[in-house]
Subunit: 331 residues, 2 copies
């Protein structure tokens, strides 16, 4: 089991190491008998190539970093899960990098990944992406962002149509009979959050009911504050749209603490479509983002940019996922 290098295999197979190398990485360049013999010998020895040495020499590796702010957030966790899959289907190995929102860490990961000869990376930010900062790094030119990027179309992105999602939520709620629909914002600073909020503001007004933003904070207490606000209103809305599932959870939890029941007393709809939502109490009605698709498309875009230099922007369609947290307003 000890130190298996390419030379060992070469000796065992009676060929030169360059032939072994070719047998693995450029099979058509080796006579098939030779190749098969080498592969057999290698197999027998339990030999695998050193990704380190390969990366060093080739100046390119198969490590693909996925940079997320917080793996504890189920959205990013699901993204990570589906992307790992998508990545190794394409022969890459996903490296999960967690920044905790610290830009310094992000920079650190960038240089590290550069040093690891990662061919490209995926960034799923919690705040607006500073594309200028991105481009200070060579590596920043080989990145795709999961979210929109302000005023700069030179970096590939994949996003979900936020406006469409809000439309789905509003339509659902209205079809249930709601006319007074409140909103709780998610982490501000993100484009998606901003888009959702803007869409709500605009579409809500269009629909004839005046927008009620219960809270627009970005911290973990948003849900609690929104609930507080709700309780203090004379005429609280009969339904609430939460900018994302986690906020929806928090709102429902805080509301429940004060005896307000969902959906009996107020309907709540989330945005994300987390698997976790199915186990919530009540199971959360939500606008589902196609997280798996986002992941695989992000990788495709990255690959494509890397090969052809093309910079694409893909916008995906969300869909309504009706579970148990919404119903008609009480009379």
């Amino acid at each position: 089991m000890a130190d298996l290098s390419i030379d060992v295999v070469a000796k065992a197979a009676g060929v030169h190491r360059s032939t072994v190398s070719r047998a693995f990485s450029r099979p058509e360049a080796v006579k098939s008998e030779t190749r098969e013999h080498i592969l057999r010998v290698a197999e027998g020895l339990g030999y695998t190539m050193s990704p380190l040495a390969q990366a060093l020499r080739r100046k390119t590796s198969t490590f693909v970093p996925l940079i997320v702010p917080d793996i504890t957030n189920p959205f990013f966790a699901e993204l990570a899960k589906t992307m790992t899959q998508a990545a190794d289907e394409r022969g890459y190995q996903l490296l999960l990098c967690v920044t905790n929102g610290d830009p310094a860490k992000t920079d650190g990961y960038f240089t590290a990944m550069q040093a690891m000869y990662a061919p490209f990376g995926i960034v799923a930010p919690s705040t607006k992406v500073d594309t200028e900062a991105l481009k200070r790094f060579d590596f920043g030119h080989r990145v795709v962002v999961i979210d929109r990027v302000e005023g700069d179309t030179s970096v590939p992105t994949v996003t979900v149509d936020s406006r469409r999602g809000i439309i789905l939520a509003l339509e659902h709620l209205r079809s249930l009979g709601h006319t007074s629909i409140g909103y709780v914002s998610g982490i501000s600073g993100t484009h998606t959050a901003q888009d959702r909020m803007d869409a709500y503001l605009e579409l809500s007004a269009e629909g004839g009911n005046s927008p009620v933003v219960l809270d627009s904070g970005s911290d973990p207490d948003t849900g609690a504050r929104a609930a507080q606000h709700f309780l203090e209103m004379n005429n609280p809305p009969t339904a609430i749209i939460a900018a994302n599932d986690m906020v929806a959870f928090a709102v429902i939890s805080a509301l429940g603490k004060s005896g307000i029941r969902v959906p009996e007393d107020v309907s709540v709809i989330g945005f994300d479509g987390l698997a976790l939502g199915a186990r919530f109490n009540p199971a959360l009605t939500t606008v589902r983002q196609p997280i798996a698709d986002m992941g695989s498309i992000a990788i495709e875009l990255a690959e494509k940019q890397n090969l052809t230099g093309s910079v694409d922007h893909v916008v995906l369609e969300p869909e309504l996922l009706v579970r148990a947290s919404t119903c008609g307003p009480r009379k």
Copy 2:
């Protein structure tokens, strides 16, 4: 910004590359003026050493794999989060490896990590650890397991005292006045799950009330089945202990679907202490595992084993976290 190798820095500083190397990795071996000069030059150029090249030559790296079955499970996510932190405080870089419960993938990660010259690794399994399989790999000898390992004390472990946790839960519930306390198992096959269940069975009987295992499945539907079972009983328990928080969520959700309210109709207590529990509806009372401690201790044990060969087994104490999902039984 282009190709910065050690030779570039050496030339710029007017020294040999070995001196530059030493200036970074063995500072005391270089005259301090020289070293400072080199460091200054390197800094100016924006140079960092290639971890790849270092690992290749040294035959040891700072990559530490954390192998988990499912990052979507908040327990593992929290573990990953705290461990990333703990790891880079000690100069390691945590590499998250997700197996989705596939043993083949686990094997794959092992050989990959071996090839990356990882000094050691951490395994947080969902099922029993096959130590024999572990030891087929060189790398398997440099691993610490977060969970107990059956009959084999040759691999370091860090665990939480399951029995103690169950005691805390039972005590809490009993002090609230409950005498009929049911149980819902988590993923079977894990030691922790088995331990918790055994502890429940034994201690429940000791306490005078007969054990009621609502479900002992291992799939995502455990919660629903448990709820079903609960509903069909003539004399359902007034409180339920769930083997872990996720199951508790599912049980409460399923119960809620049938109009059973927590804690008014039945108290539920979880096991894990996930941050997410605070946002559940109702906020989940639970037995908290010191996840952060588990993570940093795991790394310490790994380091220690690596240095001294010592194989330690650390057992941590859980603590009760009272939130809103438990109260006295209704009269």
